[in-house]
Every structure is written in structure tokens, then in C-alpha cells.
């Protein structure tokens, strides 16, 4: 399978800060590849290197078969980039923004319209409106259309769903899914763990290091302990009690329950009596399947040790 991106040993420092540390990965053509990690993990820095906006201190990257340092001119014609903060011209209209990007890349809106049709049709009724007056979700769609308008081979999206509500986020990923059929490779960065499940492959990144790379399913299945979910109405008391209990290895709140791992992967009898003694009478406990966030937390814990 031809590779869209091949990265070997990429490192980048800003003064004393180590932003990226020995990053190596490959992205297959036509895949949707996700970089999942919190702020400061190095996602934006990595993307800027991939899009030839920054030079790595060490290592090399081949994008679409070309070296990103020497062949930047050629690469820039074939990459569609949507940096964070939706870089649109606030005082130009939706239509004007799109036309501008099309022209700059030497094409027209009509030429590749079929590519963006699904996305642009949501905002087309507002095409005369100034970009600055659009809601977050609409800006997202416009920025995506502008990045796609020249039919790039590689689409680079840096945190496209940050700060946007759950409905728009879901719609956005639906749109990305539909782009698959055009054979465009897509790399996306996001702090939202649940979005990882919608990628073909995922790299978990934290503090400039890659914790793991694999398909989301395999990462999730890599969770090394048995996971239990404990529920109670007395949420906070429960967490405190679980932390206190000597059989607990990790206890993390996850929505309406607490995900717990125990020593020896089993629930001892002492567990029940302990909770009662802590004043928690009403609770449920059941085995649970680990999600990708559980795995991420596990890897982070290991990394922090």
C-alpha cells in the first residue's frame, strides 16, 4: 500500500521546550488518520512540519513521496490545510472566501464543486454573509470547503472540532467520512477521544511523544486490565471511597459511573463491606468494556510514572 506520509525520528524544540520527540509513523493513502491528544501535546507543531510551514530539528518526513524540506513548493500545491482558529477572512463573504482560495490555487469553484458539494450546500444559502458573522459550525464547513477546493491529495485538519458543540462535531465527521470515496488522505488532530473511533488509524500523542499507534479498535483492545464500572447516586463520595480502598489500582470518573481497575483483576469481598463502611449503601458494579479513553488514561499513567 503506498504511503501518503512517512515520518522517521522527527524532533522539534522551541528553546528549552521539547515539542516533538522522535516521532515516527506512517499514514496509508486514502486513510483517515487521527492524532489524539490534549493541548500542548505537539499536534499543531507536527502538522506545521507536515505542511512544510516549519522545519524539524531532526528526522525526516516524506509526504506524498516527496521530502517535505526540499520539495515544499510542489507539496504546497497538493495539500489542503485547515489550521486551528479557522483561518478565514472575516470581512469577506462565504462566496468570496471560497473564490479566493480557488483562484490562489489556480482553479475555479466550479471545477471541483462535486467534491465540496455535500459540505458547501449547508452554507450555500448564506453565501453572501460575511465569514465573521457565521456560527462556529458554519465556519468549520466553510474552512473545510476552502481547504478542499483545489482537490488536494492530502487534507490536513488541525483541531477542526475544538470549541464546537456535539451536534456540529458529529456532522463534521459525517462529512469527512463521505470524502473517502474521493481518495483523499486525511489527517486530523483532536482532543476529543470519542472522535478517535471514527478514524482508520490513530496515534495517541502526549507531551511530544507518541504513546501508541494503531487502529482504534486494537488500541482499545490493548487495555491490559479488567475494567469495572461502579455507579452510585453519591458520585463524589464513591470516588473518594474507591481511591481509599486498598484494592484499587485506578479509579476514574467516566460520565455516570467510575471506571475502576483492581489488583488481581477481581473484585474481592472486602470491596462491598468497605463501601458500606464508607457510607455508600446504594451502588452497582459490573464488568465493562474498555473504551479508547480508558486505554489513553492507562498509557498516560504509565508514561507519567
Amino acid at each position: 500500500m503506498p504511503k501518503a506520509i512517512e515520518s522517521t525520528g522527527i524532533s522539534k524544540n522551541f528553546g528549552a521546550t521539547n515539542a516533538l520527540n522522535d516521532i515516527s509513523f506512517t499514514v496509508n493513502e486514502s486513510d483517515v488518520f487521527g492524532f489524539i491528544g490534549p493541548d500542548g501535546a505537539g499536534k499543531t507543531t507536527l502538522f506545521r512540519i507536515i505542511t512544510t510551514l516549519m522545519l524539524p530539528d531532526e528526522g525526516e518526513i516524506k509526504v506524498l513521496g516527496m521530502d517535505c524540506i526540499t520539495h515544499y513548493k510542489e507539496l504546497r500545491k497538493n495539500i489542503g490545510y485547515m489550521p486551528g482558529r479557522f483561518s478565514l477572512y472575516q470581512d469577506l463573504s462565504v462566496e468570496e472566501n471560497l473564490k479566493f482560495y480557488a483562484t490562489v490555487f489556480g482553479t475555479t469553484v466550479e471545477e471541483n464543486y462535486d467534491l465540496i458539494h455535500d459540505i458547501y450546500s449547508h452554507i450555500e444559502p448564506f453565501k453572501k454573509r460575511l465569514a465573521g458573522k457565521l456560527s462556529g459550525g458554519m465556519k468549520q464547513k466553510l474552512a473545510l470547503s476552502c481547504a478542499l477546493i483545489h482537490k488536494p491529495k492530502l487534507l490536513v485538519l488541525d483541531e477542526p472540532t475544538t470549541g464546537v458543540d456535539a451536534v456540529s462535531r458529529s456532522e463534521f465527521w459525517d462529512m469527512l467520512g463521505k470524502l473517502r470515496k474521493h481518495n483523499i488522505t486525511i489527517i486530523v488532530s483532536t482532543p476529543y477521544m470519542d472522535e478517535a473511533m471514527r478514524c482508520d488509524r490513530v496515534a495517541l500523542i502526549q507531551n511530544g511523544n507518541i504513546l501508541t499507534i494503531d487502529t482504534p479498535k486494537k488500541i482499545r483492545d490493548g487495555f491490559s486490565s479488567k475494567l469495572y464500572a461502579v455507579k452510585s447516586v453519591q458520585k463524589y463520595k464513591l470516588i473518594l471511597a474507591l481511591r481509599k480502598y486498598k484494592g484499587t489500582i485506578t479509579a476514574y470518573p467516566f460520565g455516570d459511573s467510575v471506571h475502576v481497575t483492581f489488583i488481581n483483576d477481581k473484585v474481592e469481598d472486602s470491596f462491598y463491606s468497605f463501601l458500606h463502611s464508607e457510607g455508600i449503601s446504594d451502588f452497582e458494579i459490573e464488568e465493562s468494556e474498555a473504551g479508547i479513553e480508558d486505554r489513553f488514561l492507562e498509557l498516560m499513567e504509565k508514561g507519567n510514572k
Binding site: 506545521r48 505542511t51 512544510t52 510551514l53 516549519m54 522545519l55 515544499y72 513548493k73 504546497r76 500545491k77 495539500i79 490545510y81 485547515m82 489550521p83 486551528g84 482558529r85 479557522f86 483561518s87 478565514l88 477572512y89 472575516q90 482560495y101 490562489v104 490555487f105 489556480g106 476552502c146 481547504a147
Partner: protein, 369 residues
């Protein structure tokens, strides 16, 4: 009260941690005082004087020597005709011409009075006034100490004072061209410096960089609209000067417009250069406005003639484009000169423009670092 003090303390901390603010607070006043002190001088030193001596006798020679050796003047020319006066002013070095009438010495001795004309370059009203006053003082001094057959107290040398180009000695002949020079460079540099840094701040620059657009295209693309709009601006300004201040355009209007557009182009490219060294709009505005304004007002010859300043400032002002444009604009508007006398300044501005463009393209970072 405690709240208030806590807040004040915070403000102090902000200021001391921000080196740029400290610089503004202390550095700029100090610099201003020093510059002002030395640059601002209402004395004249080495003002150029040309002599049109229609008499050529001992007395005119003595008086000429006295004037030249006073330390305020230096002789630029010995003129032969009235017609030469215009040319010598146009060349720019001469600030005043002293004309001794025919048979000056003879008339002074036989009749006890003689006529002297002082014709000053009215395009610099302040200097003109000073020069004429100093000259008249020297002439009076001369008559007092003149040793001759006629008793001193009845000697009369009548100086007739005329202002060339600016008969009524209107001070706005000096100010308005200077203000035009100042405004054009500030506004133009400000416009272009802000437009590029704004793209950097809003993030749209990132996407432009990752596009096929080349730096030179981005730069010229930014300059072009302002260039065209500034053309309209220049016409407006000249029209206003004409109608409101009755400022003439003695020379060629076409030449004036062409030189103005050159100056504007230079200013726009200077703004681009500023933007390549600024990382945000605030810096760009600061450098364009504050960084350009003070030197332009104080050192370009706008208000205070460069000749009156210490030599150091003369050198410094050589890198200031406004210095050259002021000469150009005054020459065309007030003196009516053609390209012949201002080709040097025009060439310098052209070279500056090309240097700015070259440096901008070179500095223009094709990557984010």
C-alpha cells in the same frame, strides 16, 4: 482601598515585566530631549549666501567679507546677472542673495547713502527671516564702524528685502509641503505594515503560505490597492492645499504627481519591510507610527533646517526618505523647478524603494518560525 492598592501593585508588576513598555516610558523621553536639544536650533550656521555685486569696489568687498566672515554664512556663488538668482535658489544651497547696486561705494561716500537688496528664499520662511535679520544687523554694524569722509551718523545703507517665491512670507509654504511629506509616509507605511501582520495574527497567513502564491506576489498584491487609492489621496491633498491654503504649484503638476507616486510607492514598501520584522499588529503600528514620526518631524528638514544641525544629524537624516521628498515637493510647488534640479533626490528615492522591496522579499518568511 485594599482592592485598589492590590490592583495598582499588579499594574506596576505588569509594567516592570514588560521591557517594551519600560523602553517607551524612559527611553523615548530621554532620546527626545537629546534629539530635540541638538536638532532644534533657531540659530543659523553656514547659511548659503550668494553675492550679486554690480559695483565691485572696495566697500562692497569689505562689506561682503564682513558678512561672510561672521560665521553665520558661507558664500555659495558670485552671481553675474539677475537671471542667475532663480537658478541659484533652485539648486538649493543658497538661502539669500545680496545685491549691491551699481556704484555702491561711490554713492555711499558722495551721497551718504546706497542701496542694497537682500533677496531671500521664501520657501523656507523661518530661515529667510533669520537670514535677512542677521544680514541687516551686520550691515548696520558696518555702517557704524565705517571709517570714511562722511560722519557716521548720517550714513545710510538701505536694505531692501524681498522674499523670492513667497513674497508674503506665508509660513504654510513651509508647513504644508512638510505635512504632506509626513502624512504620506506615515499613512502608507502604516497601511501596509498592518495588513500583513493582521494576516499573521488571524492565522490566514498560514494558509497563504501553504499555497502556490510566491512571496513577491503576496507583497505586490498587498501594495497595489493602496498604491491606486493613494493616487486619489494625493490629488485630494494637493487640491486642498490649493484651495484652502492657496499654495501654488509653480512647476509641472505631472512631475509633482509622478514624484508623489514614487514617494508613496517607497512608503508602501517600507511598510512591508516593517511587517516582515513585526510579529503582531501592535508592534507594526508602533514601529510605523512612533518609529517614523519623530525622526521625520525632527530630522528631515520639515521644520528645522538640516544645515542648522550638528553634522551627525545630517548623516542620520540621509537615510530618511522624507528628507529627500521635502526637497522635491518644495522645489516643484514653490520654486517651480523641473527634474533637472531634483534628479538626485528622485534617484535616491527610487533606489530606496528597490532596496525595500528586495529586503522584504528576502525577509519574507516562507515558513513559520
Amino acid at each position: 482601598m485594599k482592592r485598589f492598592l492590590g490592583f495598582v501593585k499588579k499594574e506596576f508588576l505588569h509594567i516592570f515585566r514588560d521591557y517594551r513598555t519600560l523602553f517607551i516610558l524612559f527611553g523615548i523621553p530621554a532620546a527626545q530631549i537629546l534629539i530635540f536639544g541638538f536638532a532644534v536650533s533657531t540659530d543659523i550656521k553656514n547659511a548659503g549666501i550668494a553675492i550679486l555685486d554690480l559695483s565691485h569696489d572696495e566697500i562692497t568687498q569689505q562689506l561682503t567679507d564682513k558678512i561672510i566672515s561672521s560665521g553665520f554664512f558661507k558664500k555659495t556663488d558670485n552671481l553675474l546677472h539677475y537671471n542667475d538668482i532663480d537658478n541659484t535658489f533652485k539648486r538649493g544651497k543658497t538661502k539669500a542673495v545680496i545685491i549691491f547696486e551699481k556704484d555702491f561705494g561711490k554713492k555711499l561716500i558722495s551721497e551718504g547713502k546706497a542701496n542694497l537688496s537682500i533677496i531671500a528664499d521664501g520657501s523656507e520662511p523661518n530661515t529667510a527671516t533669520l537670514v535677512t535679520n542677521y544680514t541687516m544687523a551686520i550691515v548696520n554694524d558696518f555702517t557704524k564702524s565705517f571709517a570714511g569722509p562722511v560722519p557716521n551718523n548720517s550714513l545710510r545703507i538701505n536694505p531692501e528685502v524681498k522674499m523670492f517665491y513667497n513674497p508674503n512670507l506665508k509660513s504654510h509654504y513651509m508647513f504644508v509641503p512638510g505635512v504632506i511629506t509626513l502624512i504620506l509616509i506615515l499613512i502608507c507605511a502604516l497601511m501596509t505594515s498592518v495588513t500583513i501582520t493582521r494576516e499573521k495574527e488571524f492565522g490566514t497567513m498560514e494558509v497563504l503560505l501553504v499555497s502556490p502564491l510566491r512571496p513577491i506576489q503576496i507583497i505586490l498584491g498587498k501594495v497595489m490597492p493602496y498604491f491606486i487609492l493613494s493616487f486619489v489621496n494625493v490629488i485630494l491633498i494637493i487640491a486642498l492645499s490649493w484651495f484652502v491654503f492657496a499654495l501654488p504649484v509653480k512647476g509641472s503638476m505631472l512631475l509633482l504627481l509622478a514624484e508623489s507616486m514614487l514617494y508613496i510607492l517607497m512608503s508602501l514598501t517600507l511598510g512591508i519591510l516593517i511587517s516582515t520584522v513585526s510579529s503582531n499588529m501592535q508592534q507594526a503600528i508602533f514601529i510605523s507610527l512612533i518609529g517614523l514620526m519623530l525622526p521625520t518631524v525632527l530630522l528631515s528638514g520639515f521644520i528645522f533646517p538640516i544645515e542648522n544641525m550638528p553634522k551627525v544629524y545630517d548623516f542620520v537624516s540621509m537615510i530618511l526618505p522624507p528628507r529627500y521628498f521635502i526637497v522635491i515637493i518644495k522645489n516643484i510647488m514653490i520654486k517651480g523647478t523641473g527634474l533637472l534640479f531634483i534628479w538626485k533626490e528622485t534617484l535616491i528615492l527610487t533606489i530606496m524603494t528597490m532596496v525595500f522591496i528586495g529586503l522584504s522579499v528576502r525577509n519574507f518568511k516562507i515558513r513559520l518560525e
